[in-house]
Subunit: 304 residues, 3 copies
């Protein structure tokens, strides 16, 4: 594996091996892993702004002893007119071995990976609405910690703007690879994907209350405010009424159901405070798992 | 001590111990202290822009071997709509042990500290007009190096916009704790605090010339240009005439009086070049002391 | 040598020694050089934005084990009103031993160097149109790798906006010091220097085709788009027709001629894709050489 571009089509064993390694980093939280990537250099190359994902990768790289360069291509004035490919090739020539890349366009990271040298690894940190593979992996690690390694009896519900969500797509890829027992998807029709295969095998509904029945894990998605400007959502109040996870609604799920959200949250819109901060929330656990998951991926791609 | 939020109410012995440790770092400037915080991670979390304080904390953390993440919340577009508390909790979950926080609102850092886990330390790097405790400590270290450890005979004058100054408040807290012999405060009435206890025990005057008589240390404050827009200062010329420290004026102070300023300076407004760059100025010494003082604080809060 | 401000007047032996050391870093690419600058601190102090040069210096500093602070003075709001000198002196006081400085004004870095302490090194990372010495050195290293150490038979052509180019000036200084056999300069009259000695000893022409005859190395310069707004260039199409390096044009040069460009490139303007990405292009090699050249300079100035 030279790059990590998507979880689509990734074999179950590969996913499980990455999760196992990430779990080992969790279990061994105080160990010094700095020799693993000592002398290796990683560049965060963000063509779309992001703080959380960048910090999480930085922390992972620090714990592995890698050197980190940061390039915020979204705000750089100096690369105006330069192609993303030239930017990548330039920084690669400086002796950078891995790139953590975020880009607003679908497939942009895969296209850049075509231009990379054989010894260079690209990690997709989110491209368009296509994929966010490390988020998918950290969500699976979080589910596995809570519910065990056998996903075959797991009933999972994904709620919200699946159409525009790379998180949802990577979660769906991973859930299928791990053999999740049942995957339900719920959201307003305007925010569900067109008939492009994204929801193959999923039960799809607009009725959030019904969809929660007997569910083991609720994976909430962030509502981007721009969906209102685009006319895809009538109002935040309407959205909350139909698709917001309240404490009352959560009671419809299985008694030990867990709640996930990739952040940042719109509190009071897609999720209420009582749920986000309640005992069933794994939201901060997800963030915590992001670091060991990214350590596992960086090690797999960059350790020599 | 889990956090460093303010010097108000801090026992004299605690302050002295921090200053002693900082002085040891000064005396041992070339030693390698990287093992002290090796494996520990610190995030500078700035909700208000600042470069000097952030760089000083970064340098202190580097010298102690800590990993540093930087998050400029003031300019981040990705956390719009996210609460400061959620931002803190998210980065904390990534395995960050200490936060250096600046915020424009009084008490904001203390409020965030309420949300931190028991093992997480918050360092107030300036909140509103309330406190800037490491600046207070580095000012005390600078005074102690110049004037000795016995503050009881020391006559100190603080000049300028005390009303809006967190530096002045932290200096006042520290000077009182260390038993300064006399504290005078001088500035235009519009820039002096209302009757809120800030100036308890201080001699207050608008007559800069008289206030300088026999003084051992003059602590100048920066005049924010926005005070003119707010109508609190008539003009820079007027301000300089009444409250600018000129070489002529400095002669009214004790012959070996020292001059401090937290920077950045408005040269030709609150302080003249001849003073700022003259033999009585300790302004660059203050900056230099900022690093060992922050090392002492980081060690006290984060060393395991 | 306390600072590296310009290559003008630098003895041939000094340049050769720096290139030799850089070549040793190239030959020994996997070695661990972190002890060379362990415990030393460097600040990138950019009063004009730049990403590529800053990243290259950062990577060089990382490979030498130095601590790095970054200060983007161009975008910092906190230092408004502070002089560049005060900014430098402040960060210097924090225990920073070397500064990598970029500034929009000619001679600004040399002026700042006057203010530095005896133990502090300033490295000019580009000032106005005056000098960009590490770019000059990396260009010489690239030429030497391709053409050998004896420059006396080398015919070099510099093409483009020499008037505004610090890269061209540093290249000219270095080529003269190394005894280049022939230096030709080609560009529109509006973009050639006035009679200020810059082109002393050079053959100057506006006829790009004729200038290429028998040349061994073509050093293309970036065309800043602002030259059009200034009326110095009629149109990009006209510029490409007269001064763009096409594959057809390159055939006029020596059969084993090499092509250099400091980046970022305006593809399709001063250089065509087939040339930039072709077998005679050394453009990515230049970028790669930037890191060992900067390592050699940082070591020479900062190793204790």
């Amino acid at each position: 594996m030279q790059h990590l571009l998507t979880l689509e089509g990734m074999p179950r064993d590969t996913i499980v091996a990455l999760l196992d390694r990430a779990q080992a980093f969790v279990d061994d939280a105080d160990a010094d892993h700095r020799s693993i990537l000592a002398g290796r250099a990683i560049c965060t190359l963000f063509f779309e702004p992001s703080t959380r994902t960048r910090l999480s990768f930085q922390r992972a790289a620090q714990r592995l002893g890698a050197d980190v360069l940061n390039f915020d291509a979204a705000t750089s004035s100096t690369t105006k007119g330069e192609t993303a490919r030239d930017t990548l090739k330039t920084i690669e020539a400086m002796g950078v071995h891995g790139f953590v890349v975020r880009h607003a366009e679908n497939g942009a990271v895969a296209a850049l990976a075509q231009a990379a040298n054989p010894g260079t690894a690209l990690l997709n940190a989110g491209d368009g609405r296509s994929a966010h593979p490390t988020q998918g992996l950290l969500d699976m690690l979080t589910l596995r910690q809570a519910k065990g390694a056998d996903f075959s009896k797991l009933k999972v519900l994904i709620v919200g703007d699946v159409r525009h969500s790379r998180v949802a797509r990577s979660d769906l890829h991973a859930l299928r690879a791990l053999g999740a027992g049942e995957i339900r998807v719920c959201g307003p029709k305007s925010l569900l994907p067109e008939d492009d295969g994204t929801l193959a095998g999923c039960t799809v509904t607009q009725d959030f209350d019904a969809a929660l029945d007997g569910i083991d894990a609720v994976m909430m998605l962030r509502l981007q405010r721009e969906r209102m400007a685009e006319g895809l959502v009538a109002s935040l109040d309407d959205y909350r009424r139909d698709f917001g996870l309240t404490i009352a609604r959560l009671k419809r799920a299985s008694g030990d159901a867990v709640v996930l959200h990739p952040g940042p949250m719109n509190r009071g819109v897609e999720i209420d405070d009582e749920v986000a901060d309640g005992p069933q929330s794994l939201i901060l656990r997800q963030v915590a798992n992001g670091v060991p998951v990214r350590m596992a991926v960086l090690e797999a791609l960059l350790h020599v």
